[in-house]
C-alpha cells in the first residue's frame, strides 16, 4: 500500500501539477521570495494554510468513498472546497489539477468512486478518491495533500530562481515534521485556514501575460 502513496505524491505522476507554482512565481515577482530562507518561510505559510485545507478535504474525500451516497458526499465536499477557496484563480488551478489527477488516477486505480466525483473536481477531492481507490487510508490522503502543497512549489522556485537543487531538496525535507503535523491535524476535520496574501498573489498572477506557470 505504501507504493500507492509514493506514486500519488511523486512529482512524476503526470497529473499536471508541474505547470503550477502554488503562488511561488508571483511571490518571486513581488520580491517576497528571493532565497532559500524566504522559500522556507513561503512554503511553511502555504503548508499551514492551503496545505492544511487540502489535507482535510483529501482525507474527507477518501472517507466519503465509503458513504452510502458517494455522489452527494463528494458534492458537499466540493462546495466546502469552493467556500475555502474564494479566489477564482486558485479555484481554477485546483480544478485543473483535479481533472489531471482524475485522468491518470482513473486509469491507474480503477474504482467506481471516480464516476461519483463532480466534473473537474477540486484537486484534494481527486486526491482523496485516488487514495481510496489505491487502497490507502484518509491519513495517507492527508499526507499526500500536505506534501504536495510544498513539493511542487519548491521545485517551481528552484526552476525560476535557478536555485541549487540540493539546497531546495533540503528545505523541503526539513519541513517534513511540519508536513506530518499538518496532515495529522487535518485528518478528522475540515480546516479553513486562509492566507489573503496567497489569494492576492494568485489574482495578480493570473492576469499576467508573461507568466511561466499556470498559477
Amino acid at each position: 500500500m505504501t507504493a500507492a502513496l509514493l506514486t500519488l505524491a511523486d512529482s512524476r505522476l503526470p497529473a499536471g501539477g508541474h505547470t503550477h507554482s502554488g503562488g511561488v512565481e508571483q511571490a518571486i515577482a513581488a520580491e517576497l521570495l528571493t532565497d532559500p530562507a524566504s522559500l522556507a518561510l513561503f512554503l511553511r505559510r502555504r503548508l499551514t494554510t492551503s496545505g492544511a485545507v487540502a489535507a482535510g478535504l483529501a482525507a474527507a474525500a477518501c472517507r466519503a468513498v465509503d458513504d452510502t451516497d458517494v455522489v452527494a458526499a463528494l458534492a458537499a465536499l466540493d462546495a466546502e472546497a469552493d467556500a475555502r477557496t474564494p479566489a477564482p484563480a486558485l479555484r481554477a488551478a485546483s480544478r485543473q489539477q483535479g481533472r489531471g489527477l482524475v485522468r491518470v488516477g482513473g486509469r491507474a486505480w480503477p474504482h467506481p468512486a471516480w464516476a461519483a466525483l463532480p466534473v473537474q473536481p477540486h484537486h484534494p477531492l481527486a486526491l482523496g478518491v485516488a487514495a481510496a481507490a489505491g487502497g490507502l487510508a484518509p491519513r495517507d490522503a492527508a499526507a499526500a495533500a500536505a506534501y504536495l502543497s510544498v513539493s511542487g512549489p519548491a521545485t517551481a522556485a528552484q526552476r525560476l530562481l535557478a536555485m541549487d537543487p540540493i539546497t531546495v531538496a533540503a528545505v523541503t525535507a526539513r519541513l517534513g515534521p511540519e508536513v506530518d503535523a499538518v496532515a495529522a491535524a487535518a485528518v478528522d476535520g475540515l480546516p479553513a485556514a486562509a492566507d489573503p496574501l496567497l489569494d492576492l498573489l494568485a489574482e495578480v498572477h493570473t492576469v499576467r501575460t508573461d507568466r511561466f506557470f499556470a498559477s
Binding site: 517576497l32 524566504s38 518561510l41 474564494p86 485556514a193 496574501l197
Partner: protein
C-alpha cells in the same frame, strides 16, 4: 446576547428580543439598530461571549458597537477570549462593530457563522489591530462561515500575530480589515496594494492589511469601491 428583528404590520422593523448579559450590554439606538456596549474592560483572557442575531424576513438590523474592543490578557498564562456570533438572516443584517485591538500577550478568537435564507442580505466587517501604539502584537484568529440557502459560500479562518500560520515575514501586518457582502450581483475580482476583493455567489469578500488600521481601511475601500464602508457605521 440575543437580538431578534421582526417586520411589523406597517413594514417597520421592531426588536421583540433584545437581551444581554455578562460583559456586553445592548442599547436600542434607532429603528432596527442596536449598539453593543462593553460593561467592563476587556474582553479579558478566558471571556466567552456568544451573540445570537435573528433577522426575520422583511426586517433590517444594524449592529454597531460604541467603542473599540481592547482585548487584554488575563494574569499568568492567559487563555484566549472568544466571541461567537451566530446570525440567522432572512432579512437584512449589517454587522459593523468598531475595531478589535488585541494587546500584547492577549489571544482573541472571533467567529461569525451566518446562515442566510433566499433573499437574505449581509454586510459584516471586521477590523483588527494587533497591539496598542508601541506595543508588541497580540494574536487574533477569525473564522467566517457564510451559508446561503444551505450552501456554504465562504469559510475561512485567518490567523494573525506571532505563531499563526499566515503571519510570517515579510508579510506580518499589524492591521487587518475584511468585509463580506451578500445581497448584490457577484462582484468581479479587484486587486490593489495589499488588498483584494474576491467574488462570492451574490456578493464579494474584501480583505486588506497594512501597518496601521486607517491604511488598511483605505486599501479595502480602494478595492471594494464602497466609501461608506470606510467609516463602517
Amino acid at each position: 446576547m440575543e437580538v431578534v428583528a421582526r417586520r411589523d404590520a406597517r413594514g417597520r422593523t421592531v426588536l421583540p428580543v433584545v437581551r444581554a448579559s455578562g460583559q456586553l450590554a445592548v442599547r436600542r439606538t434607532g429603528e432596527g439598530a442596536v449598539h453593543l456596549v462593553a460593561t467592563a474592560f476587556g474582553p479579558l483572557g478566558g471571556d466567552d461571549a456568544e451573540v445570537r442575531l435573528v433577522v426575520e424576513e422583511g426586517a433590517r438590523l444594524s449592529v454597531h458597537s460604541v467603542a473599540a474592543a481592547v482585548v487584554l490578557p488575563a494574569r499568568g498564562g492567559s487563555p484566549p477570549s472568544r466571541q461567537l456570533v451566530r446570525a440567522e438572516v432572512a432579512g437584512v443584517l449589517h454587522l459593523t462593530p468598531e475595531p478589535t485591538v488585541v494587546t500584547a500577550r492577549a489571544v482573541h478568537v472571533a467567529e461569525l457563522h451566518a446562515e442566510l435564507g433566499e433573499g437574505g442580505e449581509l454586510t459584516a466587517t471586521e477590523q483588527v489591530l494587533l497591539g496598542r501604539a508601541g506595543e508588541a502584537p497580540g494574536r487574533w484568529t477569525g473564522t467566517t462561515r457564510v451559508v446561503v440557502s444551505g450552501r456554504p459560500v465562504l469559510h475561512t479562518t485567518v490567523g494573525l500575530g506571532p505563531g499563526t500560520p499566515a503571519w510570517l515575514p515579510p508579510v506580518a501586518p499589524r492591521a487587518y480589515v475584511s468585509t463580506v457582502r451578500i445581497g448584490e450581483p457577484r462582484a468581479a475580482v479587484q486587486t490593489g496594494v495589499d488588498a483584494v476583493r474576491l467574488p462570492l455567489p451574490g456578493g464579494w469578500v474584501g480583505t486588506a492589511w497594512a501597518a496601521e488600521l486607517h491604511e488598511a481601511v483605505a486599501r479595502l475601500a480602494g478595492v471594494t469601491r464602497e466609501r461608506d464602508l470606510e467609516v463602517a457605521r
